[in-house]
């Protein structure tokens, strides 16, 4: 490690003391499986008092969204301070206090495109884990070709009337609100008639149906809108549209870059994960065979290099350089790596890993789940298309 500035070292020391005092012992198992994630929301049931205390203490400090401005529930940390924050959490293996699509996706989009009133209204409840959001993007007829969304949005004076269907809405059945792409102008070119709309899931006419995946779990839903009335401004005078009517594609694209960066981080084993080869060696209770070891070495090398690339791009973004289309690169390499890693883990697990909930627990389900990584948020093929056209300037 390079020498830390005095200021950062001071922040680290303070933070360490704060964590010592405030992070409950039960929350110091950060490498635990996904089903311990705290998602928050109106209907959230805390798995323990410790989970609740950890969320509330972090939220009070702004540590659920450390880089957001203080006025919106964040801690206003710089990028360098954020790195310190994450490394100190990793040091004691602390769980993240809260994860959500509000934090990963809607928050960054609102910070960029929202009005001051929208930010003040929507961001703090996300930071405190009080409102859980889901993402209404894909439709049965609009997967990779996202801009062809057809969910109808009619202007009825003081409200919009919504009819249509979304699919692959993650945790829609558990969400309080949805940010959705809707077709507000059927005459315009397809990218130009889309509006980015915020809809309360409690509205009459909104219903959800979980989709069971090959992994046996149902993180995704179909979401139906049947004559749903969405007031243009809510009771507190806050607009339901982010950005401009019919220009929702700009917001959608911006948000996708955040989603892609988030998904790309999955495969890198960042955040204190053990090296893949060591995991495999333990699984086999002995040495890896030649081909497995060679594959594990490659995965480890790629994992480290992709992790460094994520850091490099975060630094670039932080210093004001646009990374936009390059997020397609991060998404592509990160998700393909994650699939490779899980293939190797299945291979090391042998027949023991073929049993649902067997000796390797969730491993088969996790392996199957990773197959969606290179589909969700834009497929690998869409990512390569973005790189070839927008980064390399190859002809269409």
């Amino acid at each position: 490690m390079a020498q830390e500035t005095e200021e950062l070292a001071g922040f680290r020391a303070e933070l360490r003391d704060w964590l010592e005092e405030n992070c409950p012992a039960e929350m110091r198992d950060g490498s635990s499986p996904e089903d311990h994630t705290c998602w928050g929301g109106r209907n959230w049931v805390f798995e323990s008092d410790a989970q609740k205390a950890w969320l509330n203490r972090c939220a009070a400090q702004g540590y659920t969204v450390p880089t957001w401005p203080r006025e919106y529930g964040g801690a206003g940390l710089s990028r360098a301070e954020e790195k310190v924050f994450l490394s100190e959490l990793a040091r004691i293996d602390a769980r993240l206090p809260l994860q959500s699509f509000g934090i990963w996706m809607l928050g960054p989009a609102l910070l960029h495109f929202g009005t001051p009133e929208q930010k003040a209204h929507y961001l703090p409840p996300i930071a405190r884990g009080e409102v859980r959001w889901c993402q209404g993007y894909s439709e049965p007829g609009a997967g990779s070709d996202l801009a062809s969304v057809q969910t109808k949005c009619e202007d009825k004076g003081d409200h919009y009337l919504i009819n249509g269907q979304k699919i692959w809405t993650s945790y829609a059945d558990k969400a309080d609100m949805i940010f959705a792409l809707v077709r507000s102008d059927r005459e315009a070119k397809k990218h130009l008639g889309i509006t980015f709309l915020l809809i309360d899931m409690r509205n009459e006419g909104v219903s959800t149906r979980p989709i069971k995946l090959i992994s046996g779990v149902s993180p995704f839903c179909e979401t139906f809108f049947d004559n749903v009335v969405v007031p243009k401004v809510n009771d507190e005078g806050i607009s339901a549209v982010v950005g401009t009517v019919n220009r929702g594609w700009d917001v959608a694209k911006y948000l996708l870059t955040h989603e892609r960066s988030m998904i790309s981080a999955m495969g890198t084993g960042l955040g204190g994960a053990r090296p893949l080869g060591a995991v495999l060696k333990d699984d086999l209770d002995g040495d890896l065979d030649t081909s497995l070891r060679a594959a594990a070495m490659k995965a480890e090398i790629d994992s480290l290099a992709i992790g460094l690339t994520l850091e490099r791009y975060k630094d670039m973004a932080n210093s004001g350089q646009g990374v936009g289309d390059a997020s397609a690169m991060l998404k592509y390499v990160g998700t393909e790596l994650n699939k490779d890693r899980h293939e190797l883990m299945m291979s090391a697990g042998g027949s023991d890993a073929l049993e649902w909930g067997g000796a390797f627990g969730d491993r088969p389900a996790d392996w199957l789940r990773t197959k969606a990584n290179s589909i969700e948020g834009g497929t690998t093929e869409v990512m390569l298309g973005i790189v070839s056209r927008r980064v390399l300037g190859l002809p269409g």
């Binding site: 390079a2 090296p275 060696k281 594990a296 070495m297 480890e300 090398i301 480290l304 070839s388 190859l394």
Partner: protein, 360 residues
């Protein structure tokens, strides 16, 4: 800044054609070009100012190496200014200082004589330096001594009893025979035969039986800079290839319109970006925490080797027949990528290092 100014100079003085002309003339070294590089401070990029260097560090050396790689510049930069300079910096005596000053000014060149077999394996060095009286006698054969055909001095790794010792001796000392190798990449390399070559305690760089405390930092500096050069090789080949995809027509279409080629080109760009991160990280680690840079360096060399390979293979394939011709430059990139892959440890060597440091 450094990259742009280097690019400007190299495009004028050392485009790929310069290497081609040297090859056609049967030359592997251009002393006039090296003199100009030295005048710009490149030869002393790692050398302290008190010895006439500019002391800009390993990250900056990587930037220069990358730019040199883009046009396949043949120079003693890696052997002398990165590897030998780093070795000499580990020793603080007057002779080392004098040697550093001579490297920085460009008047003295070095070559590193390690390999005895076809694969890099410094710990497995067998060539003995037998003790005799107050000194040593070196006997044996070294191969793949990069820049060994013209270098003024040699850093020679030899076995002394139980340990390894690094000697710094003039290349024309009695008993040394140099046999130039005709390399695929048109760069300089030699087999060097040592026939009862005398060396004294004065010729030992660092301590007897402890070569690695001097050599390890030098090798890591060289590996990181070579990785950077290979990333430049990849970038040079890739730039030509993307340009060709935008101008070559077949079946009435630009070949860059074919999705099969678009996706392979896009994948290659993604790999070059990932590799660039590993290379930048290696440079930073060598500057900030050189004791703990091994993982970062091996990561960079492993990634750079693979990315350069992918770039030149795709480069030839996407150019089609013309890519196979000697008149076209792509072949030079392919041959340099292969030589760079082997020098200072191939992919397997560095992947093993990563695995070992990661506990498997």
């Amino acid at each position: 800044m450094l990259a742009e100014s280097a690019r400007g100079f190299l495009d004028e003085k050392a485009p790929v054609k310069h290497l081609r002309d040297m090859r056609d003339a049967g030359k592997t070294h251009d002393p006039a070009l090296w003199k100009e590089m030295a005048e710009m401070g490149w030869a002393g990029i790692l050398i302290p100012e008190e010895f006439g260097g500019v002391d800009m560090g390993h990250a900056a050396a990587g930037v220069l190496a990358t730019e040199m790689g883009k046009t396949l510049v043949a120079s003693p930069f890696l052997s002398s200014s990165v590897i030998a300079a780093t070795a000499l910096k580990q020793v603080s005596d007057a002779r080392a200082g004098e040697a550093l000053a001579a490297i920085a000014s460009g008047e003295r060149t070095y070559a590193l004589a390690i390999d005895e077999k076809s694969k890099f394996n410094p710990e497995g060095t067998e060539m003995p330096a037998r003790r005799e009286g107050n000194g040593f006698r070196l006997s044996g054969k070294k191969t793949f001594v990069i820049d060994g055909g013209f270098a003024d001095r040699l850093l020679v790794l030899a076995r002394t009893g139980d340990g390894l010792t690094l000697f710094d001796i003039p290349a024309d000392r009695a008993g040394i025979t140099r046999e130039t190798q005709s390399m695929i990449d048109s760069r300089d390399a030699a087999r060097v035969v040592f026939d009862e070559v005398e060396a004294t305690g004065e010729d030992v760089l660092g301590q007897v039986d402890d070569a690695m405390s001097v050599l390890k930092p030098a090798l890591e500096a060289g590996q990181a800079a070579l990785a950077a050069e290979l990333s430049g090789v990849a970038a040079g080949a890739f730039g030509m290839t993307v340009g060709y995809l935008k101008e070559r027509k077949q079946f009435g279409l630009l070949i860059g319109q074919f999705q099969a080629l678009q996706h392979r080109a896009a994948d290659l760009w993604c790999q070059t970006e990932v590799t660039a991160s590993a290379i930048a990280h290696a440079g930073r680690m060598l500057d900030a925490d050189p004791e703990n840079a091994t993982l970062a360096v091996s990561l960079a060399k492993a990634r750079a080797t693979e990315t350069a390979k992918q770039a030149v293979i795709e480069g030839v394939q996407m150019h089609g027949g013309i890519g196979m011709t000697d008149a076209f430059d792509m072949g030079f990139f392919m041959k340099r990528a292969r030589a760079g892959a082997e020098w200072l440890g191939d992919y397997g060597y560095h992947a093993e290092t990563v695995a070992r440091l990661k506990g498997f």
